[in-house]
Amino acid sequence: MTNSFMLDVRNLNKSFGEVYAVKNLNFQIPKGEILGFLGPNGAGKTTTMRIITCYIPATSGTVRVDGLDTVNDSLEVRRRIGYLAENNPLYSDMTVGEYLTFVGEIRNLSGEKLRSRVDEMFTVCSLTGMENRQIAHLSKGYRQRVGLAQAMMHNPDLLILDEPTSGLDPNQIIEIRQLIRQIGAQKTVIYCSHILSEVSATCNRIMIINNGQIVGSGTAEELTANSARGNRYVVRVKADPTVVKNALGTVPGITQVATKPAGDWIIAEAFVDGAEDLGEAIFRCAVSNGWSLAELKHETASLEDVFIQLTRG
């Protein structure tokens, strides 16, 4: 089974002195998946990526890329990975054309193959016409595209993007997202970000990491549905808060009720466990107690709620 995983991370630890950046991390990515790797700044995302790309060694644990060990088969692993590192470092004294040609040579391309691949990257990353511009003089958006072109030059099996859209304007972000989704149709992609909307729009699966540990994993829907404080009914009624609290608490399926005043009205939030529709039961409860009912709606947690909940404790 291990062969069907593009990436297999087991018991991964990384410590810098006393501080653990990554603690006992375990996860697998099947081929062809786009994994969103979420976490607040300093959660261990970049450290994990650096271990996978063979830049720094792990303290303990194993990482396998396409079945190959990152320590024993480092060069083979690096051949399979395309990496856009955090903050997109580039050799800024080179021109875009020189740089991409250099990257191609490093990736073992030569002659006609090299030239056509470089041309292709110019088209794919919308860099046409920038061949002779020095990288130091490019805008941030163009620098980012050069970084992406670098990462995709050899058509890698595993593409690792650490904050690929930082510094881009909304139009460029949409372009990059589309590009990543196209690539993700055939290749495996890890997409690191702390921008939630981006990840939920692009990725098949989301993994949330905090303090070096995985705190949540699944599709955006699964994550929000599993969130303890996510699934709730919001009711706006005119009644005594304690009465409302007690009455709603007796409705089967409701686990917890919180109330807060809103002018003459009070807003009650009734948290539920299951997926059953409690709208009618809540309505009947309001009617039988004679409350004036102004609003009744079902809300699920947003990814932001889940993220905040999981990464704040």
Partner: protein, 239 residues
């Protein structure tokens, strides 16, 4: 091999994109020519001793200035993360970088052939043997200084620190072989110091004697420090 060449080309070119190359070559030619000509006419001898003799000292400052940026800059602007996550072995990276800097230094050294040419033009009849071996010795000594300086550069992201420590390290290897130090050392250590001293081997080569021991010495120093350089990359725990 293709990758070593790719890195070599890129690194070599980068010297000439920035003003570094032109400033370096100009200053190096000015200093070495001045030091040569100001004794040449006094000695009234058609040889290049006046050029080669101060070179071990001149190189103490000029070679670390070339070596300092090789790793320190990559670390500073974080391109090292690119370079080391590409499928290139540490040996390919180190040798590509070393060869590029070495060739750049060789260009600067070869531009000083104006000196022997001037000697010939003003009617001197120098013995060409010591001049040719002197140039060979200069290249070897430059390579040794460069390997030391590059190794130092791999430990810091600050180019100034890389430069100063490079000067110190090169000076150490130059100094331990000097008569002043050897005089005070215990006999066994004195032999070792004399052998390790960067300057001693250069003296015998520039006198016109190509001894295989001197060649072996320089290649060992270069090989050893390139090896240390690879080790320091392999043990990267600095992030």
């Amino acid at each position: 091999m293709q990758k070593t060449i790719a890195i070599f080309k890129k690194e070599f070119k980068s010297y000439f994109i920035s003003p570094i190359a032109y400033v370096f070559i100009t200053v190096f030619l000015a200093v070495s020519s001045y030091l040569f000509f100001h004794v040449f006419f006094l000695n009234n001898q058609a040889d290049m001793r006046g050029f080669f003799d101060p070179l071990p000292i001149i190189f103490l400052f000029f070679i670390p200035a070339i070596a300092m940026r090789s790793w320190a800059e990559e670390r500073k602007v974080r391109t090292l993360e690119l370079l080391l996550t590409w499928p290139v072995s540490d040996l390919e990276v180190v040798s590509g970088k070393f060869l590029a800097s070495f060739c750049f230094i060789a260009v600067a050294i070869l531009l000083t052939v104006t000196i022997p040419v001037s000697i010939l033009l003003i009617g001197g009849k120098p013995d060409l043997g010591p001049i040719i071996t002197g140039y060979i010795g200069t290249l070897l000594m430059g390579g040794a200084y460069l390997a030391i300086g590059m190794w130092i550069s791999s430990y810091t992201e600050n180019q100034i620190i890389a430069f100063l420590l490079g000067v110190v390290a090169c000076f150490f290897f130059y100094m331990i072989g000097s008569p002043f130090i050897v005089m005070f050392a215990a006999p066994l250590v004195a032999t070792l110091f004399t052998y390790l001293g960067l300057g001693n081997h250069f003296d015998s080569i520039q006198r016109g004697v190509i001894d295989s021991r001197d060649i072996v010495y320089y290649f060992s120093i270069i090989g050893f420090f390139l090896f240390m350089n690879i080790q320091s990359l392999a043990g990267r725990k600095w992030e």
